[in-house]
Symmetry: C2
DNA sequence: CTGTTAGCGCATTCAT
DNA sequence: ATGAATGCGCTAACAG
C-alpha cells in the first residue's frame, strides 16, 4: 500500500542502500544515479518513514523547544528565533529538521513529561527556555533527565535560563536578570524615587528571584530600606499586575514607583493606576522588563530592560544544531539594556 | 548500553510481549504481573523507544500544530489551547502524546515542508491554524498533502481556517471573519463615520480577504462609496499598522476612522495617529480584530471583534484527538463578538 | 561508487 | 493471561 524505499530502489534499478544514501546525502553517489533515484522518488511520491529511519539510525530529526507559556510573546519570540535556525537544511534525510515547541505551562510535571517524550523520540537536541523552577527535587529530576539525554547523544541547550550545576553538559545562555533588575531600580532611584513597590513573579522561579535580587541590591546600594510590604508576588500576566498594584497602593498610598516583573505585568499595573485615578509617570512611575514588541506602544511608552530574545534564541538554535561553538565553559551571560521611556519620571513633590 | 524492552522483560521474568502489553494498556494483563513489570521499568529507568514503537505500530504519538507566527499571541493562545487538550493521557505507550507547534512564518514552502515532516513521522493528527494562503498552486499542494495524511490515518483539523474544498476530509473550525468585519464597520458607520480607512493584511491570505469583504459589505449596505485609495495592504504587525496609517492620512487627511486588520496592526495605527498629533477617538477612531489580551489595556481600550481563540483551539484539539465528534458536515463556523470600547466614538464635526 | 547483509526495538499475530 | 515468532522500513557496516 504505502511506498517504501525498496519500491523506489526497484524503480530506479538500484539497491535500497543507494536510495538511502541519496536521501541522506552523507555519502558519495554518482550524479547520474542520484538523478535517477530522485526521479523515482518523485514519480512514486515517496515519503521517507521517519520512525524507521530514526530507529535504524538511532537518532531523529526532532529538536524540542520547551517554553513555559507559548501565549506569552517572551517565549514566542525566542521560540521563533530558535526554530528559524533549526528549520533550515543540515538535518538528516532530506536536510530538514523538525523544530517542535512544547508548552509546559509552567508545570513541573509537564516539563518532565515533555523531556521524557523527547527522550523517547531520540531527539537530536533540546532547548529549554526561560526561568527554571527552584524546587530542589524537581531541579534534580530535570538535571537527571538532561544528563540522560546528553548521554543518549541529544544536545542540550538552555536559553534564558541559568546553568544547571547538576547537568554541566547543558550549554547555558543566561540572561543577566539580576543586573537588569538592578539597572532599572537604580534608574528610578536616580530620578529621586525612594518608595518603590515591586511586583514579583511566581516565588519559585529563578527569573523572579534574580530580578528581585537586582532590585534589592540597588535599594541596598543607595541606603534605601527594603520594606517587605512593598513587594508582592504574582503570576507573569496582566491580571496579576493589576491586582498586585491595587494591593501595593492599599499598603502604601504614598508609593511613587512600581517596578514590575515583566512588561505584561507592567501593563496591568498601568491599568490599575489609571483606574485608581493616578497619572503615569506624574503620580507614579512604572517600569517593566523584557521590552516586548508592544511595550513601546504603551501609553506612555514603557521604561524597561531590553533582552535580546531574538539574538539569544538564534544563537541557542545554532548551538543546538552544532553550527556554532558553545561559549567557553559552556556558559554565556547575555546582558539586557535599559530602555528609558515615558513611563518613568521624577516623583511628585 | 541503552535499556530495551527485552531487558525489562528479563528483569520482570515475563516475555517482551507482556511488557509491551502493560505499557500500551490495550490488552488484559494480570495485575500482579503488571505490577512486576512496572517495577522493573522503574528500576531500570526504562524509556520506550519512540521510533521503534511507531515503526511497529505504524503510527506515532506526535500531533503537529502549524501556526503562521508563533510570536503572535493570536497563534500562541490557540496553540496553547490545542496543546492543552493533546497533552493529557489518551495516547499510546504511557498515555502521553507529543503536541508540537511548528512555526511556518507564513511561508508556503515551510508549511509544506512541515506537513511532509509530519507525514514522515506518521503523526497521529495535524492541526492547521489561521488563515490560508490563497495561491492556487499552493492551496492545491496543501490539499493534496492533507489528503495523503488523511489516507495514512492522520486526523486533519483546520482551526480558524476556511474549509479546503479539495481536501474535504479535513474538519474545519472556521472563524466568521466576514461577519466580524462587517459588524465592526457597521458599528463605526452607526457612530456617524463616512470616511473610513482600512488597513488590510497581506493580499494573499484568506483572513485578509474575508475581513475586508465584511468591511466592504457594510459600506455597501449603507451606500458609502468604497474608495480604493482608502485601503492599504500590509503585514499583520505593528510596524505595518504604523506605516499604513501615515499613508492613509497622507492620501486623505479628513479620515475619521481607521479599521485595522487585527489588534496588533491597530496598535501601530494608534501610535501613528498620536505621533501625528491626532486624538483617539476625538479626531480619529480606531478598531482592531481578535481581542488579544493586551487590547483591553491599550489607551484608549481597543474596540475590536473578540474571537474565542481558546475555546476554538480546545475544540480543535479534542477533535484531533478523537475525543469530540466533528461538527455535522465537517464544518463549523465560529462567530466573533463585537467589543465596543474607548477607541471608537462619534466623528469630529 | 554500489550491492549485500544484518539488525535497530517494538507490536502483533498466532499459539498455548 | 502469557509466550514465541515475525516483520515494520530503514541505515550502517562490510564487501566488492
Amino acid at each position: 500500500m504505502t511506498v517504501t524505499l525498496a519500491d523506489v530502489a526497484a524503480r530506479a534499478q538500484v539497491s535500497p542502500a543507494t536510495v538511502s544514501r541519496v536521501l541522506n546525502g552523507n555519502y558519495p553517489v554518482a550524479s547520474s544515479t542520484r538523478e535517477r533515484v530522485l526521479r523515482a522518488v518523485d514519480e512514486l511520491d515517496y515519503v521517507l518513514n521517519g520512525p524507521a529511519s530514526s530507529l535504524a539510525a538511532a537518532t531523529s530529526d526532532l529538536v524540542g523547544i520547551l517554553v513555559n507559556d507559548i501565549a506569552d510573546p517572551f517565549f514566542g519570540v525566542m521560540a521563533a528565533a530558535i526554530q528559524s535556525e533549526i528549520g533550515g537544511p543540515g538535518g538528516r534525510a532530506g536536510g530538514e529538521r523538525l523544530g517542535v515547541v512544547c508548552n509546559t505551562g509552567g508545570s513541573p510535571e509537564r516539563e518532565l513529561t515533555y523531556l521524557t517524550l523527547l527522550q523517547r523520540q531520540r531527539a537530536a537536541a533540546v532547548v529549554l527556555t526561560g526561568g527554571a523552577i527552584e524546587d530542589t527535587a524537581h531541579a534534580g529530576a530535570v538535571a537527571a533527565k538532561l544528563r540522560k539525554l546528553h548521554e543518549a547523544g541529544t544536545r542540550v541547550v538552555l536559553c534564558g535560563r541559568p546553568p544547571a550545576p547538576e547537568a554541566p553538559e547543558a550549554i547555558a545562555l543566561t540572561f543577566d536578570n539580576r543586573g537588569g533588575g538592578r539597572q532599572l531600580t537604580e534608574h528610578l532611584i536616580g530620578l529621586g524615587h525612594r518608595r518603590l513597590g515591586y511586583i514579583a513573579g511566581p516565588e519559585e522561579r529563578t527569573t523572579t528571584r534574580h530580578r528581585l535580587e537586582g532590585h534589592r541590591a540597588a535599594l541596598d546600594a543607595h541606603g534605601i530600606e527594603d520594606d517587605p510590604r512593598r513587594t508582592v508576588h504574582g503570576r507573569y500576566d496582566r491580571r496579576s499586575g493589576y491586582e498586585a498594584t491595587l494591593e501595593l497602593l492599599r499598603r502604601d498610598p504614598s508609593l511613587t514607583a512600581v517596578v514590575a516583573a515583566n512588561d505584561t505585568v507592567a501593563l496591568g499595573a498601568c491599568a490599575a493606576l489609571r483606574d485608581s485615578g493616578l497619572r503615569i509617570p506624574g503620580d507614579v512611575s512604572v517600569a517593566g522588563f523584557d521590552d516586548l514588541p508592544f511595550s513601546v506602544d504603551a501609553v506612555p511608552a514603557l521604561t524597561t530592560v531590553r533582552l535580546p530574545l531574538t539574538e539569544a534564541g538564534a544563537r541557542a538554535g545554532r548551538i543546538a544544531m552544532g553550527r556554532e561553538e558553545p561559549p567557553p565553559g559552556g556558559i554565556a551571560t547575555v546582558r539586557g539594556e535599559l530602555m528609558v521611556r515615558g513611563s518613568t519620571g521624577a516623583p511628585r513633590a
